[in-house]
Symmetry: C2
Subunit: 135 residues, 2 copies
């Protein structure tokens, strides 16, 4: 998963923000996203690993935010779900004997690095609380 990860995580977290006192089951969440509950649990596992969600097994179990939505920014979520953004690389090793082939990925990297900074500064300004308040 790469494309949907951020969107799914934001969706999950928005739901958790809307019900801050409940443990929401993967089945309930999956019903809103229209996604398989196992995939929801996998995303939750990732969010747990990053300490913004906690979960409870067993009957009436589920997931719940482990910190206030006001203290979580979209930037953090972005960083938990994307290595970094970019417009792609040549997948194959470009020809190292060609001056262009030799440096293309490095130069693309530099470009994408700057792109990431801009995006991060945008996302840093939006808290999960802000985002959730739009619903």
């Amino acid at each position: 998963m790469l494309s949907g990860k951020f969107a799914i995580s934001v969706h999950i977290l928005t739901l958790l923000t809307k019900f801050p006192n409940d443990y929401l089951s993967s089945e309930f969440i999956a019903g809103s996203i229209n996604l398989n509950p196992v995939l929801v649990r996998k995303e939750i596992a990732n969010l747990k690993a990053h300490n913004i969600v906690e979960s409870k097994e067993g009957k009436n179990g589920g997931a719940k935010l482990s910190k206030a939505a006001a203290n979580i920014t979209l930037k953090e979520i972005f960083e938990m779900t994307f290595e970094n953004i970019g417009l792609g690389y040549a997948k194959n090793q470009p020809n190292p004997d060609c001056p262009v082939g030799k440096k293309i990925n490095q130069n693309l990297d530099d470009l994408y690095k700057e792109m990431n900074q801009k995006i991060c500064s945008q996302l840093e300004g939006i808290s999960l609380e802000d985002f959730s308040a739009q619903f």
Copy 2:
């Protein structure tokens, strides 16, 4: 093709910039990218459709820039190869009976729209000539 399109197009265009007076064959270009020549020709077809490249069939044919590299920005290339950037959507139709499901894609869209603007303004400041000069 979505991931590699921008990177491949930039690679092609950088080569064309380096040899502004020659028609470069898809085979030559493919040798630098390490990609199948047919895929190179497909990307070139796209660049031709956007009028920044011209090509010649037959012996000693190939592709060539149709305008000065100084007058092509990375933003244009971005727009020729990406619909728009974003961090993905829930692929399935989210549940319209859930207030979050109902609006999630709209709200993500708004977020991504702003992201695109930032990226476009970055890319607009870099010409193909600038980019190619790094090699």
